[in-house]
């Protein structure tokens, strides 16, 4: 690990110092997820990348204020997945040193710095879907039965940059790579996360459904009906399901999955 000062022994400390050095080495600052991090006279400054040129930002000096910032979206919705591209804007955190920088980052992108550091050094251990699924128990045990096709579709619906900014590094298994755009960002994803597993469970339940003479499953019909009702009630009225509320029809990831698996059947000629 060339970036890490040799006296630093723990992985966490080495990652922190490497990250701070990486930030300091760039005059214009670094982009990590949706955050722009810049070296400044008093230490480091963090803000939403889209606020790069803003001067009127709510100022924070406690690195732990990052937790509140990362908790809710602009519209006040809970964020179960911190790498979702829905971080709110309008704030700046100024921290004095690399330790505080790491604390702030740990709330904005939990474990992000360590994974970034390991990945850059080619040392990040990857856990593929099948291996992760073997560990699952209880409610999630059924993800072990998800087909390869199901894993592929679930990953495209759940993990692409439109919904998660991490770079998806895991595969279905050793021999079956994911067929998706893995993402362009700096934050690696070494293993399916709990949101993905919960989504995979939902997809497994979809997979098991039978289709009737219309060629549609019960849940597909339910989703189409919900979409029609939502659209018919007027744009202002549509209430989408929460980010990880996969049991409800109007969930973005669920709809992304339908776009992959249902739309081609509804419009076969395209």
């Amino acid at each position: 690990m060339s970036e890490a000062p040799p006296e630093v022994s723990s992985l966490a400390a080495a990652s922190r110092e490497a990250f701070a050095a990486w930030v300091a080495a760039s005059a214009e600052g670094r982009l990590f997820g949706q955050i722009l991090i810049r070296r400044c006279s008093s230490g480091y400054s963090l803000r939403h990348a889209e606020d790069a040129g803003e001067s009127n930002l709510e100022a924070h000096e406690d690195p732990r204020s990052a937790r509140e910032i990362a908790k809710l979206t602009e519209r006040g919705e809970y964020r179960p997945l911190k790498s979702s591209p829905n971080l709110r804007r309008g704030w700046e955190i100024r921290v004095s040193d690399s330790v505080e920088l790491a604390v702030a980052m740990s709330y904005l992108y939990p474990a992000g710095i360590v994974h970034w550091h390991l990945h850059r050094g080619g040392r990040l251990g990857i856990t593929n879907f099948r291996e992760n699924a073997t560990r699952q128990s209880g409610l999630y045990k059924r993800v072990q039965r998800l087909s390869d096709r199901g894993v592929q579709d679930a990953a495209r619906a759940c993990c692409e940059d439109a919904v998660c900014l991490k770079k998806t590094l895991w595969d279905v298994d050793e021999r079956t790579p994911l067929e998706m755009r893995r993402g362009d960002g700096e934050i690696p994803c070494p293993e399916p996360c709990s949101v993905f597993i919960s989504f995979a469970r939902r997809v497994r339940l979809f997979e098991r459904e039978e289709r009737d003479e219309t060629g549609l499953s019960v849940s597909e019909k339910e989703d189409l009906a919900a979409l029609i009702e939502a659209a018919a009630s007027g744009a202002g009225e549509v209430e989408f399901a929460r980010e990880a509320e996969f049991e409800k029809p109007l969930n973005e990831r669920r709809m992304r999955y339908r776009r992959l698996t249902l739309v081609p059947r509804l419009r076969p000629e395209e």
Partner: protein, 255 residues
């Protein structure tokens, strides 16, 4: 260096579940007892799979923010953290794993502090029953036992005319307990880790509670916040960690 890792359930849907973990972590940071205090969750980030990599300390104390011994404390947490027992060696790190909070000897005191907060400035006359409300069965069978254990420990102190237990998902069902208890005043305390759908909605709805104090027929029901959100839970978590320091690391022969 010493680190405390508090492991909570967390939620994909709202902040209720993780909030007490964050708050207790912050309180414990304030005491300076640990060099690092880190939160980790089953359903939120950082996940248990990755949290230990983010910790600098070599001496790590893991305390589950769970009431009962059960599926999470016995299966999920050890598996996800890669623990081998009460003490696990991982490279240069020693990870000590504490038991759940509800079985700890300090738990009755936290429950009583919760009662104290609820009843402060409130006068009662006639017999008073304390009713501990538990969730009931999960995938393991121990979850009711811890509620009984705390009821027994509090009963031994002789503070209330009656100390009873009731559950959401097993017998005796809480509604019947509150209705049948032979006391004018019923102090109802959910022995839960966090506020949530049950404490805010299903319990008040099922029992017909309208707030902290409800008149139900000839009874007055005082309904407290969950034990787990009480500030003194932070002390209990730290004490739970301290207690595990007594466990000797298992020495394994080098291979």
């Amino acid at each position: 260096m010493k680190a405390l890792v508090i492991v909570g359930h967390g939620s994909h849907l709202n902040e209720d579940s993780s909030l007490p973990v964050y708050e207790h972590a912050q309180r414990i940071r304030g005491t300076g007892e640990f060099d690092e205090v880190v939160e980790s969750f089953w359903k939120e980030e950082p996940s248990m799979r990755h949290v230990l990599d983010t910790v600098e300390s070599e001496e790590i104390y893991v305390v589950p923010a769970f009431i009962s011994e059960g599926y999470f404390t016995q299966q999920v947490i050890p598996r996800e953290l890669g623990l081998e027992g009460p003490v696990t060696r991982r490279g240069s790190k020693t990870v000590r794993y504490a038991g759940p909070l509800g079985t700890f000897e300090g738990m009755p005191d936290v429950i009583l502090e919760r009662v104290g907060d609820l009843m402060r400035g409130r006068k009662t006359s006639g017999r008073t029953a304390l009713v501990l409300l538990g969730h009931g069965t999960d995938l393991n069978k121990n979850s009711g036992g811890v509620i009984y254990m705390n009821a027994r420990r509090i009963r031994e102190r002789g503070l209330y005319d009656l100390v009873e237990v009731g559950f959401l998902d097993q017998e005796p069902e809480i509604g019947a307990v509150v209705e049948g208890v032979a006391a004018r005043n019923v102090i109802l305390i959910p022995v839960f880790i966090a506020e949530g759908w049950h404490t805010r909605e299903t319990i008040p709805e099922d029992l017909g509670l309208t707030g902290e104090v409800t008149l139900l027929g000839d009874k007055t029901v005082f309904y407290g916040a969950p034990v787990g959100t009480h500030p003194s839970m932070a002390n209990l978590i730290a004490a739970r960690a301290r207690e595990t320091a007594r466990e000797e690391p298992v020495v394994r022969s080098a291979t």
